[in-house]
Symmetry: C2
DNA sequence: TATGATTATGAAAACGTTGTCATGTAAACG
DNA sequence: CGTTTACATGACAACGTTTTCATAATCATA
């Protein structure tokens, strides 16, 4: 590896001078600068981040800790964060923690170890002690998407999130206005404030519209499709009557839809449904579900920016930035009625057909030597 | 910040001994070990990655350079890579380059500077000189998803990718078997081998099925929805006849669908359509489009694993791993016909309705103080 | 001509680790 | 009892930077 000393030797100067040229940090004569730049070019020198970081006690790196990189919402947040980071010449270390406290604890330790200059995290809040480590080490931290009970904490965190209460309120009110009085809620796990806030918004809307609240219409579980399906199953088996379902996020919504399809329950004819969070980067594919969208990109961008401002002043009072959520009315509640019926509905297929027709076809064997069974293994070239 | 020396002082030993305890690297008596562990616990010591990295000349970090983190395909690759990395106690630095050579060059320099232990990159191949820098610095590198012209290169890279030729072949053959003879291709940018290979697979399938190839039925552009729409527009305006469209990836497909909807062309009644790459993590939402799915998770996982094996032997011959692609037949080609018509079709709505009904509703103002116009700004708490 | 500011460069130390070498003690062996 | 072997610990140097301090040459000013 080529070091600053190598460059210095070739240019016939001291390492200090090379450093000055690279960082443009002090007086260097024009002639020397040119010699050095030439040497850098010739040797293909790139500064050693770790050495510099060790000296400067900075890494120019941010950590982004997400529950599920597979969810478009988080993906879009990541993109916003990355753009903001790059603009400031920072890199992003990215960790997936799957709503798993153990993993989260481990990642917090790693992140600390990495000496990142800032952390953006959507935390599982059931182990706040571990999060407190970040404060203890004075690492600028932004809590994404969620609220924490900070009563135990010495310092406060910074926050960036969507407005879950308002969003859930809008979604519920929309259903009520369409005439629904029995609205089930398939909620997320209560360890996440987003789940709690969405229930709260839902309850507030019911109250405002004078609809009685029925505890039994709520089920709780993870923010996952499989959990959404299981919760829906459970809910339907309770033998209660309800005409609509509020899914606490897009993943859960996916599971809800899956279970409804399985039972041949039509949307919106038999059941209306709304999601919190849109379900695809661009829902042009299938603009069917009525949802709340959050400004995910902006959340990520704002979080990174907040870290940068925090870096310059560690002792600034803690801040909370709440971005508005937007209701997008589509067809899954039958809101757009034509000739007495919704122009679009699910399922168009009976469940049995549905599964049969989405069969997977084996890749062809007779075509390319790369295809077929052997292709999954390594082959030397 | 608490260092190894602080721990050493508290435990009454030398820093070396602490290091030995932390890394379990040499003889330490049980009593000493316990003293040290206790001190570590008490001070909340975490090792300093950069210092260690500087000493060991390793970072325990992999770089993942992707064209578009918004695309589920890449998201899933990222997940696979992250899982594999975490299993080996490695972290992932992640960069989004948007199919932009400039950005890619910059990221290559950054990555070099970061001294990562390995790089996974889906490269824009029009600046292979810059990629060669990675080799020159002997950084283990895996090329994701694509092929490079390595003729200029001193060493060869490792590769992990899906089988684009075979996938495109399957998709095209599927269309031909359904009776299509005029199949348009909305391709990606030719700088990416995936675009070239998919055209190749398409041509091979046509040839095998004795369908004449018409150059004018292919359009080229970026792997983006907007480009997909523009290319489709261009294609339709050529005044050619064709009955089906092959979209070179999911993003392009989205644009194709958007343009067809805009022109009120029904799918599959008026036009059949297939995508390369599935369009959502879990297409349960809307199992409509016939696609080729790649083993995206496995591609990411395999790439990271390949890096780990490369690290232990830099001089091992270069390897290529090709994962099979799978055809999923759904409804966008009318393959599943009932009573003479497809059970599911697009658009159900005329374009004008379509746009009108997906109107965005403003967030409510009268509810929470967080909602409304002020909420997009920062507020101190 | 003396004084001080400006420009230009380098030597040395430090950031927090860990590998190498040296030193020592205790146990095992003949 | 002397010698080897295993166990245990520490001093020192080094990884590649950059900051601080020191030195010196050049230039303008009194």
């Amino acid at each position: 590896m080529v070091t600053i000393t190598d460059v210095a030797k070739l240019a016939g100067v001291s390492p200090v001078t090379v450093s000055r040229v690279v960082n443009d940090s002090d007086y260097v004569s024009k002639a020397t600068r040119e010699k050095v730049e030439h040497a850098i070019e010739e040797l293909g020198y790139v500064p050693h981040f770790m050495a510099r970081g060790l000296r400067l006690n900075r890494t120019f790196t941010l950590a982004l800790v997400l529950p599920d990189i597979t969810n478009v919402f988080w993906t879009t947040v990541a993109r916003g964060a990355e753009d903001a980071a790059m603009k400031n010449n920072f890199s992003i270390l990215f960790y997936n923690v799957d709503e798993d406290v153990k993993k989260q604890d481990r990642v917090v330790d790693i992140v600390l170890s990495q000496q990142v200059d800032g952390v953006m995290i959507a935390p599982h809040d059931s182990d706040i002690k571990h999060l407190a480590k970040l404060q203890h080490n004075r690492v600028p931290t932004v809590i994404l998407d969620r609220i924490l009970d900070e009563s135990q904490l010495e310092h406060k965190f910074d926050f960036v999130r969507g407005d879950s209460i308002s969003g859930a309120y809008q979604l519920t009110r929309h259903l009520v206005r369409l005439g629904h009085k029995r609205i089930a809620m398939v909620s997320g796990n209560l360890h996440a404030s987003t789940a709690r806030d969405r229930v709260l918004g839902y309850r507030m809307a019911l109250q405002d519209q004078a609809i009685p609240f029925d505890e039994d219409l709520i089920v709780y579980g993870e923010f996952k499709a499989s959990a959404g399906a299981a919760m829906t199953h459970q809910l339907l088996d309770r033998g209660l009557t309800f005409t609509s379902i509020f899914a606490a996020n897009n993943m859960i919504g996916m599971g809800v839809v899956r279970e409804l399809l399985r039972r041949n329950i039509r949307i919106p004819e038999d059941m209306s449904i709304v999601f919190y969070d849109d379900y695809a980067t661009d829902s042009d594919y299938f603009p069917f579900f009525t949802v709340i969208t959050q400004q995910a990109y902006e959340i990520g961008y704002a979080a990174a920016e907040m870290l940068f401002s925090r870096m310059v002043n560690l002792d600034m009072p803690s801040r909370t930035q709440i971005l508005p959520s937007t209701l997008i009315v589509r067809y899954s509640c039958g809101a757009q009625i034509k000739d007495g019926k919704s122009p679009l509905s699910l399922p168009v297929l009976a469940p049995s057909e549905f599964h049969q027709t989405t069969s997977r076809v084996k890749p062809i064997e007779d075509f390319s030597s790369d295809a077929g069974e052997s292709s999954a293994k390594e082959s030397n070239q």
